[in-house]
């Protein structure tokens, strides 16, 4: 069966609704992209979704897998556009919607690796991990990667912070580790020692994994 672009949009809508509502059974009214009757029938026939109450549907295992892939492509596209291509913020969602459809299997893995297996999209929503993330594939050279992957002497520009703990993000931001600043790794053992602006910082490996930089020099 061919998954159309329209189907993909609906799958993404289902995924987002599930993320937001934290429940499996989803009201059709919650979806930002509602399927018409014909499309709904097709989705049910293909065992992508199933009914679970009046006006409520739920993704099957197969459906969830397809949705996860679609969301992953969309959010990777957003990351690529923000971090590497520096597209203006207002245009990102729209551009990503067009871009994601080109990131089919294989290409998404390359993009993911290139970006250093990012964990969240620029809006802070989680990117479903692909096989490449689990295997930690590293094809050289990456464009964006955690500071912990720099070699001593290498420089980069902070692209974004990826931390689940808001306290930590707050601490790093207030210490001056902000997107756009330049860092130079000085030493990476036993912990990390880097230069940022005119100051030097020591951080542990866990924190360094949360600081993503655009690599500037080898």
């Amino acid at each position: 069966m061919q998954i159309t672009e329209q189907m993909e949009e609906i799958l993404e809508a289902l995924w987002v609704a599930r993320e937001e509502k934290n429940t499996d059974c989803l009201k059709l009214a919650w979806l930002r992209e509602m399927p018409d009757t014909r499309m709904l029938k097709e989705l049910i026939d293909e065992r992508i979704v199933e009914r679970c109450g009046a006006e409520e549907i739920k993704m099957t295992t197969r459906g969830a897998q397809l949705a996860s892939d679609a969301v992953r492509r969309h959010r990777l596209a957003e990351r690529l556009l923000t971090d590497v291509l520096a597209v203006r913020k207002e245009m990102i969602h729209e551009t990503a919607c067009q871009f994601e459809h080109h990131l089919h299997r294989g290409i998404d893995q390359n993009v993911c690796t290139l970006l250093g297996h990012p964990k969240t999209c620029p809006h802070g929503r989680p990117i479903p991990p692909g096989r490449c993330c689990e295997e930690g594939v590293r094809i050289a050279p990456q464009a964006v990667s955690p500071v912990s992957h720099l070699k001593p002497g290498q420089t980069g520009q902070v692209a974004y912070l990826s931390t689940t703990d808001p306290k930590r993000a707050q601490l790093m931001l207030s210490m001056g580790i902000v997107p756009g600043t330049h860092v130079k790794l000085l030493s990476n053992f036993p912990s990390l020692f880097f230069e940022l602006g005119e100051s030097q910082f020591a951080v542990d490996k866990e924190m360094a994994k949360e600081i993503y930089v655009r690599i500037e020099s080898a």
């Binding site: 036993p190 030097q200 951080v203």
Partner: protein, 585 residues
């Protein structure tokens, strides 16, 4: 506290850690606030009066603050002052880090209080080949800007002038409400800062070098070698061998030969009653024991220790040591940041217990407080122990191994069972700087004076209590009771007074051991057991007071009881082990 100060205009020194707020405080008030080269030297609020071109004002020195959204306790302390106490704000900035510091300037400006910006360490900025157009910075911020080199006094007259103009302004007395945290807001502040900086900062064409010294200190191999060298030369050779050995012998000998006999004959002449005379010149007399311990044994050790410490603190070595030891400290549930209070604890555990505030999580603060109280010997005690064991190097090594093992094992256990998230480590590392002799001497003097104000009354009180105990017979009774656990640890009843002193302060207890051992009252085995138990003992009353203040009385009581039981049980276990192994040291 200064009561007159509350009526005078209040000037609050605020800014990131390690930018020189305390130096400026010292220059404005003429009072000494501890100055070092690591973030987090000041953890408390200090106040002092000043005359600014003839106008009386109160100056408030606060701990370092990165933003109005505090993460650590000491940041919270600083923010509370800004929020609750309306005052004129002086934002002290490390001139090299203008871009990173301006967001806080903008936040401080939003409080509605008048702000003066001080670009301190301007000489370091110039030496990097950079410069700042202060006039244009002042225009774009809409705030007065002064460039200073506070340690040399450059620019301080100008600052005083600006402040005297400032204090005539109207002050909004409403408490300041911090706007809710948002990353967007913070980013906005950063963008504004970047624009301001772009127009005012003349950047250096070359990037700063990672000096060879830096590299040597933070590379594991050479780093540990340097650490070992500092411990050996600074602690063992200088404080231990020279201070606790040579100097103490000299002073103690002189005290016993010249001072004590003089006191005794003076007392015999002035006090006709034997029972009263013993309060001053008896076996536990104030003059023959209390003051002798304080001035002939503890003084030389503590002074040398604080001297070595001041040099280490001012050099910028401690944050680098934190980096070096971070991964090891993670195993005991602490981050590298905790290296600083632990090392300070080797100087004075009381001061260090306060510095525990600089740690980010409650879990880390608990673990650090317990380890400090239990396993870190303070300078006076360690010095006495090194002096005591100088002729028995094997016992000294065994003592060190046992204490280090207890530190590691109890840390690992605490890390395993203490609830809370694992620690994370980030610290700003200042450049290595050549310590100023003036600051080193001043800091040593101030700390020594503080220390003596703390211990001399306690030594006197202890002498009085023991004297009362002897008169009433309670002393004999306590000694008999203490003999029971002592016997369990294989120690003679004659060691009881030393342990009794240990309840007042553990360094006092160690000094007591010094007397007993000098009289030949302890075998090698007994020496080892008694120094281990006294090291594990509760540090002192002052430290207990700080623990209660910082951690609450419930926690403090639990920690104290645990330590007491643990110390005695370790002694008993050690005795059993030594006896079983049939070792004679």
């Amino acid at each position: 506290m200064d009561t007159a100060g509350s009526a005078n205009p209040r000037i609050i020194l605020a800014g990131s850690p390690n930018v020189g707020k305390s130096v400026i405080f010292g220059a404005l008030t003429g009072r000494y606030a501890t100055v070092s080269n690591y973030p987090g030297t000041t953890v408390e609020v200090l106040r002092g009066p000043a005359k600014l071109c003839g106008i009386a004002a109160e100056i408030v020195d606060t701990p370092g603050l990165y933003s109005v959204y505090p993460v650590t306790e000491e940041e919270r302390v600083a923010l509370n002052i800004i929020r609750e106490e309306p005052g004129f704000i002086v934002h002290v900035i490390d001139a090299k880090n203008l871009e990173r510091s301006l967001p806080l300037t903008l936040e401080l400006k939003e409080t509605g209080r008048p702000v003066v910006v001080v670009l301190n360490m301007f000489d370091e900025l110039i030496s990097l080949g950079m410069n700042i157009d202060t006039a244009s910075l002042s225009r774009s911020l809409g705030l007065p800007v002064v460039a200073t080199v506070a340690v040399t006094g450059q620019g301080m007259d100008q600052l005083e002038g600006e402040l005297s103009k400032l204090v005539s302004k109207e002050l909004c007395l409403e408490p300041y409400r911090v706007p809710p945290y948002s990353e967007k807001r913070l980013r906005g502040l950063y963008r504004m800062s970047q624009e301001v900086v772009a127009a005012t900062l003349i950047r250096a064409p070359r990037s700063k070098k990672f000096t060879r010294l830096d590299k040597l200190i933070v590379s594991p191999l050479s780093g540990f070698l340097i650490l070992a060298l500092i411990l050996y030369l600074g602690l063992y050779k200088f404080v231990g061998a020279f201070g606790a050995g040579t100097l103490v012998d000299l002073l103690e000998g002189a005290y016993e030969t010249y001072v004590s006999p003089w006191f005794v004959s003076a007392a015999e002449w002035a006090i006709p009653w034997e029972w009263l005379r013993s309060l001053f010149v008896g076996e536990f007399g104030i003059l023959t024991l209390g003051l002798r311990y304080a001035f002939a044994i503890i003084l030389p050790i503590v002074v040398l220790f604080f001297l070595v410490f001041a040099v280490i603190e001012d050099s910028g070595y401690l944050p680098r040591l934190a980096y070096l030891l971070d991964s090891l400290f993670k195993r005991i549930g602490l981050s590298g940041r905790a290296v600083i209070p632990m090392v300070l604890g080797l100087g004075c555990v009381t001061m260090a217990t306060m510095v525990v505030r600089t740690l980010a999580s409650r879990r880390e603060r608990m673990i650090a407080t317990i380890l400090l109280s239990l396993t870190i010997p303070c300078s006076a005690q360690m010095g006495v122990i090194m002096g005591l064991l100088s002729e028995r190097p094997l016992v000294l090594v065994l003592w060190a191994v046992i204490i280090c093992s207890i530190f590691a094992v109890s840390g690992a256990l605490l890390s395993r069972f203490m609830p809370g998230p694992p620690p994370s480590f980030i610290i700003e590392v200042p450049p290595m700087r050549l310590p100023s002799i003036r600051n080193v001497l001043l800091k040593t003097y101030v700390r020594m004076a503080w220390y003596f104000k703390e211990i001399v009354p306690i030594f006197i009180i202890a002498s009085v209590l023991i004297w009362l105990g002897q008169l009433t017979g309670a002393f004999e009774w306590i000694i008999r009771v203490l003999a029971v656990p002592l016997d369990l640890m294989g120690l003679p009843a004659s060691a009881a007074p030393a342990f009794l002193f240990g309840f007042f302060r553990r360094d006092y207890g160690a000094a007591g051991l010094y007397d007993i051992a000098n009289a030949g009252g302890l075998s090698g085995n007994q020496l080892l057991i008694s120094v281990v138990v006294l090291t594990l003992f509760l540090p002192c009353i002052a430290q207990l007071v700080i623990t209660i203040k910082e951690r609450g009385w419930k926690t403090a009581t639990a920690i104290s009881l645990f330590i007491l039981v643990f110390a005695f049980m370790t002694g008993a276990a050690l005795n059993a082990a030594i006896t079983l192994a049939g070792v004679t040291l």
